[in-house]
Every structure is written in C-alpha cells, then in structure tokens.
Amino acid sequence: MEIKISTENRRVQVTVMEVTGNIDSATHAAFEAKAAELIEGGARYILVDLTGVPYMSSAGLRALSAILNRLRAVNADISEEEMRKRINEGKYKSPHLKLLNLSEATRTGFETAGFDMFLEAFTDYQKALSSF
C-alpha cells in the first residue's frame, strides 16, 4: 500500500490521501498512522481517494472509524449525542472525512457495515472537494 498526500484549498483546506493498494489487516495500521500524523500536523478535513484501492476489509473500516474519531477529537462539529441521533435519523454525514471512488468490492463491506450512514462517498474529485 502507498499513500500520496496533497492539499487543496477550497472553502477549507482539504488534505487528500491518495491510497494505492488494498487496505486490509496487513496494511490498515500504516493507513491509520499516516492519517494520525496528518491530523497531528494540522489536517482537519480529509478526503481519502480510494481510486487505487481494489479492496478494503473490516480492518480498513475500523481505521476509517478511528480517523473520524481523531478528527472529531480535535474539531468536533456536534456532540456525540446529537451525532448519534442524526445518524439514527439518516441525517448525518461527517463534514471532516469523506471518500472518493469506492470499488464495488469495497462498497460491499462499506454498506453492509452501515458506514454509508455517516461517511459520504463521491465519484467526482471536484465535487468531493467542494463539498467540504
């Protein structure tokens, strides 16, 4: 797995993590560690570009969840309670963490695990950036 980092200035500064390779039990730790390093360095809005990721297992999903929690810890949008309420009502998507170009295989786990209830997945790079 390789990760390329870039930043794009829109309404806010978006950090783009362009990942290449599978995110599974073998690689999730490196993915999560890179995101943690970026957040430590000031990243507050992250777009994970999964165009080069054929496959993600639950290890990758857990990493996304951990990254989201790190972003919320430094820059919470709403309270935990309010977030949970809105997720239950189907009215919440994270403003801090978004995804681009999920493969069909990745989507299988993503949707089955219910991650589409709180993470938005885009298919257009520019639209994804301007959504932050």
Partner: protein
C-alpha cells in the same frame, strides 16, 4: 475437499481472496456475491491469524473452498486458541461509533454476507465453516 495450508500471517490474505474468488466466479456467482465471499474469507482468516495464533507467524492453518449442490463452502481449520465467532456479541454500529471502538465488525460482516457461519471444535482442530448458497 482439498485444503491449502497458509502461514498465519496477514500476507496470506491476498492469496486467500484470490483463491476463493476464482472458485466462486467459476461456479457462476454474481460479482456482488464473489466480493461477499472474498470479504468473509478474509475476515475469517484475519481472525485466525490475529486471535487463534495471536501473531505467531510460524503457525499455519488450512483453508478449503469448494462448490457443490449449489453451495459454496469455505472451511478454515486451525490449531490455535479457540475462538468462537458466534460468542462475540453483534456490534451496535451506531452506538459503537460514539464509543470509539467497533468490536466484532469482521464477524458481523461474515454473518451478514454468508448464509451460514458454523464453528466447531473437532479432533483435528478448530473448524470454521462458511456457506454461501447460489441464488
């Protein structure tokens, strides 16, 4: 059913996904079902590597995959610590997100994506069986 032996290392996962994916595709499963089967086999193998053998990469486990009577059957046999996925509580995904941990997510996916998940302690070792019926 012939079984392949894999080292208890996460590096085995790519080969496992390819192996079960090929058998599922050749059996005529839809792309969606192939992804489900690959994901379930990955989660099962990850559990064996992480929990049954707890990172002992010298250990090995056996995996078989066969299609018969409209059923694809994947088995994993290990000789490590007993780990019964059916004893792991289902995660409440919405609540657990706020609890900052999602336990049992892999097992949740296995149960959701496959038609049967069975765990037995046999004379030969710990046997996990995953079944997907062809629609």
């Amino acid at each position: 059913m012939p079984a392949l032996t894999f080292p208890a290392s996460f590096d085995s996962l790519d080969e496992i996904r390819e192996y079960v994916g090929k058998i599922a595709r050749d059996a005529g499963f839809s792309d969606q079902d192939v992804y489900s089967i690959q994901l379930a086999a990955d989660e099962a193998a990850s559990n064996v590597i992480e929990h049954a053998y707890a990172g002992n990469s010298k250990a090995t486990f056996e995996l078989s995959c066969a299609f018969r009577n409209d059923r694809l059957v994947v088995t994993l046999l290990d000789h490590g610590k007993q780990f019964d996925p059916s004893k792991v509580p289902q995660p409440d995904l919405k609540a657990d997100l706020s609890d900052r941990k999602i336990g049992g997510l892999g097992i949740y996916l296995m149960r959701k994506l496959m038609d049967e998940v069975r765990y037995e302690i046999t004379g030969a070792g710990n046997l996990l069986t995953l079944v997907k019926r062809k629609a």
